[in-house]
């Protein structure tokens, strides 16, 4: 233990009566002589008294609350007897106290029920995509558990509500040459020469749908959920089909991939290619790029080359399967290390040159999420550095998982990072005050008084800067934006392609429920903080259940149903505060639909 701390310990022992008589006598003798020591003892004694005050005040506050609650219950009882619930609620609302008790929410619950929202119980019919009157294409939305639907332009059920959805844009290209096509909303797709799996040189017809606006995505019944129901955040979706007169559905040749440029207002980090497939309910669900190659590649764009260099992990051109693992390791080593160097913040640069190495082990789940991160050190790696590395390593971004024999695997890695090689680190702020003090003290011993003062000032400044940075970081994590207005993806598949990322979890998640007995309602939740749309994962016991929805998230709830050939819509905006929700249906009109479209597209995220 440091000398300063030892002194504190001795004083503590004295104050707490932990000394034996001889020690005590000796110490008291010193006290008489040493005025400074006596002052020091007094200070420590006062601090303990200060601690007691803090504790007592806390307890007093608790007492106040609990007394208050007793009174509230008493008043509540009286009020209940006198005028019933409404008055009781008013009493509570009138009081200035904020309490932790449940009574408030309970009463509010009751209040809600009194109002009653149960009049909306109707039926719905199943989803089907239909072809509209003349040229427009229409989709009927609902949660057709019984009837699975395949997008099919030929079915017609003209009596249903008609929600205009995107029409395919058509392009005709010569497959033997490289081609670029540009969609109406700015998607650029680059086909290499001989991109398709076909023998024929006949011209290829490309059909394209672009989904960028939230309304477009919702009305097309698309979501941003993975196969496992995990929420992802989209940067735009496209649907691409290719055909030749002789072949109705063309695929890309096995060794070819297309490049997509998706426009965006603000670029968010970590976007990857996801491809769409249908789940049991007929919803399009997404999977991280089917092959390794079909991931986000380093960005370089003609608009902005100012050093924007996004690192995406596990991206590599592949050789044969056996080489893949080796390469992946090599690649990961470098990239994880880069990430750590880039993101590591330590309070102060140790004077001594750092040595040793650190092992970082982690597991990449099938979906790319990194878990089970562990750091162990070897050699005489600095403890401080080690601790901070540990913190940084815990936040590794998703890594493209290992892909073998047609499926993604959960894989564990351990990589070694040499410290003396690359860690000439940035010196920034502090994270843990105590650690900071430790280094600080050590350095202090080597300084003159004048530099000490100067040093204090600098540290203070650094600390402030760092705190600011932490705050900024917190904000940025949610919305890591770069000044580039395109996402660049590659894909070795056609069909549904989605540019997504896993959003950062913020405030925890819980399930969001909508109370509704009708099982045939087609509903979607549109999140406000991230660009995401989800559908209920289960419908049971009169509840539409959306599990794992971020707490406190602002959401728009959109639902459609049909009853007696009349179409109804429910649109509301609420916050996910763990309370059950109910639909509020009204007849679907053109105006209403336009209004919903406007509101959806006004959501900025």
């Amino acid at each position: 233990m440091r000398k300063g701390l030892q002194k504190i310990e001795i004083i503590e022992n004295y104050l707490m009566g932990k000394m034996n008589t001889a020690e005590k006598a000796e110490f008291e003798k010193q006290l008489e002589k040493d005025f400074k020591l006596a002052e020091s003892v007094q200070l420590q004694k006062d601090l303990v008294a200060g601690l007691e005050r803090i504790g007592l005040k806390k307890d007093l506050l608790k007492a106040k609350r609990s007394l208050f609650m007793r009174n509230v219950w008493m008043w509540f009882g009286v009020a209940l007897l006198l005028t019933g619930l409404a008055f009781g609620g008013w009493m509570i609302d009138r009081t200035e106290f904020v309490t932790q008790s449940d009574s408030r929410s309970e009463m509010n619950d009751k209040g809600l029920n009194i109002k009653g929202d149960s009049e909306f119980l109707m039926q719905i019919d199943s989803r089907s995509e239909i072809k509209g009157d003349d040229t427009a294409e229409f989709v009927m939305l609902s949660d057709g558990r019984s009837r699975q639907t395949v997008p099919n332009d030929s079915t017609t059920q003209p009596d249903f509500a008609k929600i205009p959805v995107k029409q395919f844009q058509t392009f005709v290209i010569d497959p033997t040459k490289a081609n670029n096509i540009t969609g109406k909303e700015g998607t650029i797709i680059e086909f290499p020469a001989n991109a398709f799996q076909t023998e024929s040189d006949q011209e290829v017809t490309i059909k394209l749908k672009e989904f960028y606006k939230l309304s477009d995505i919702v009305f097309a019944n698309l979501t941003t959920q993975t196969k496992n129901g995990q929420l992802i955040e989209t940067g735009g979706m496209v649907q691409i089909e290719a055909s030749q007169p002789s072949i109705s559905k063309l695929n890309l040749a096995p060794d070819k991939s297309i490049t997509l440029k998706l426009p965006c207002e603000m670029k968010k980090k970590g976007m990857k290619t996801f491809t769409g497939g249908k789940d049991d309910l007929g919803h399009v669900v997404w999977e991280l790029g089917e092959k390794f190659e079909s991931s986000v590649i380093n960005y370089s764009d003609s608009h902005d080359n100012s050093g924007v260099n996004e690192v995406d992990y596990g991206l590599m051109s592949i050789g044969d399967e056996s080489n893949r693992m080796k390469k992946m390791f090599a690649k990961l080593d470098g990239e994880v290390e880069d990430y750590l160097i880039e993101n590591l913040r330590i309070p102060i640069l140790p004077k001594k040159q750092l040595k040793g190495f650190i092992y970082i082990s982690f597991t990449v789940e099938e979906n790319g999420i990194v878990s089970e991160t562990n750091v162990r050190k070897a050699g005489d790696a600095s403890i401080i550095l080690y601790d901070f590395l540990k913190k940084t390593a815990k936040n590794l971004p998703p890594i493209v998982p290992c892909y073998m024999n047609g499926q993604y695997l959960r894989t564990s890695f351990e990589i070694r990072i040499d410290i003396d090689k690359s860690f000439s680190l940035k010196m920034l702020g502090e994270l843990e005050l105590t650690e900071y003090y430790e280094v600080f003290e050590r350095r202090r011993g080597q300084m003159t008084e004048a530099t000490e003062e100067d040093f204090d000032k600098k540290l203070k400044q650094q600390r402030n800067d760092f705190e600011d940075e932490l705050v900024d970081d917190g904000l940025n994590r949610k919305n890591q934006n770069l000044k580039v207005n395109q996402y660049l993806l590659t894909s070795s598949n056609l069909g549904y392609i989605n540019c997504d990322r896993y959003p950062f979890a913020t405030k925890g998640k819980s399930s969001f429920n909508i109370l509704e007995n009708d099982r045939k309602i087609n509903c979607s939740l549109v999140l406000h903080s991230v660009r995401g749309i989800v559908k209920p994962r289960y419908i049971k016991r009169g509840k539409y259940i959306f599990p794992q929805l971020p707490n406190e998230e602002q959401i728009s709830i959109l639902a459609f149903k049909t009853k007696n050939q009349q179409n109804y819509v429910s649109y509301s905006v609420t916050t996910h505060n763990k309370q059950d929700h109910v639909f509020e249906f009204e007849p679907l009109t053109k105006e209403k639909l336009q209004q919903i479209t406007r509101e959806l597209d006004a959501i900025k995220n």
């Binding site: 701390l5 420590q44 006062d46 008294a49 200060g50 005050l433 105590t434």
Partner: protein
């Protein structure tokens, strides 16, 4: 509940129960302070201060109650408030000058509490975790082992070391605050 019982509770570590009873005296004190130019907030501060003073006295084994608790707390609160007013240079009529039996003693106690308030201020700036460790040890009387578990530290030894570091930090802050106040 009888005063005797409240004091028993306070002495046997049933602090919170005692406080709930004691807090019932607040409306009277609030009324007093409001009538003497204070705000509701000030009333609460003064009342809590009075309760702390009473509590510290009450747990002393030699403490004997000479009046009812509510009277005692009320008198202390009144003293504190008049003292406060005096400092502000305000006086409220001559009838207030009536002497309390324990006034001189109270003055001393109040003085001390002022000093501890400074400590309180300093302690609040040492970080939540640090404060928690110190509180658990000095106020709640937890063992270092228990504290290590609660604060999520690796071992008793780490917790102990941490405790001293926190104390050290608190000392530094206290000295800083003292200089500022001086």
């Amino acid at each position: 509940m009888s005063d005797y019982k409240i004091i028993q509770q306070a002495r046997t570590g049933k602090r919170e129960k005692a406080f709930v009873q004691l807090y019932r005296g607040f409306p009277a004190v609030k009324k007093l302070i409001l009538s003497k130019g204070g705000t509701a907030e000030e009333a609460e501060d003064v009342f809590q201060e009075a309760l702390i003073i009473f509590y510290k006295k009450a747990i002393h084994p030699e403490f004997r109650l000479t009046a009812s608790i509510s009277t005692y707390v009320y008198s202390v609160a009144r003293f504190l408030w008049l003292d406060e007013l005096k400092k502000k240079g305000l006086k409220y009529g001559t009838e207030e000058v009536e002497n309390l039996k324990f006034e001189s003693e109270l003055e001393e106690i109040a003085q001390k509490e002022k000093k501890f308030q400074v400590m309180e201020e300093a302690l609040k700036s040492i970080g939540e975790k640090c404060l928690m460790i110190l509180q658990l040890f000095y106020y709640k009387g937890f063992s270092m082992k228990e504290i290590a578990r609660q604060v999520d530290l690796k071992s008793e030894k780490v917790a102990k070391n941490q405790k001293y570091k926190c104390l050290e930090r608190a000392r530094k802050r206290a000295l800083e605050v003292q200089t500022i106040n001086a």
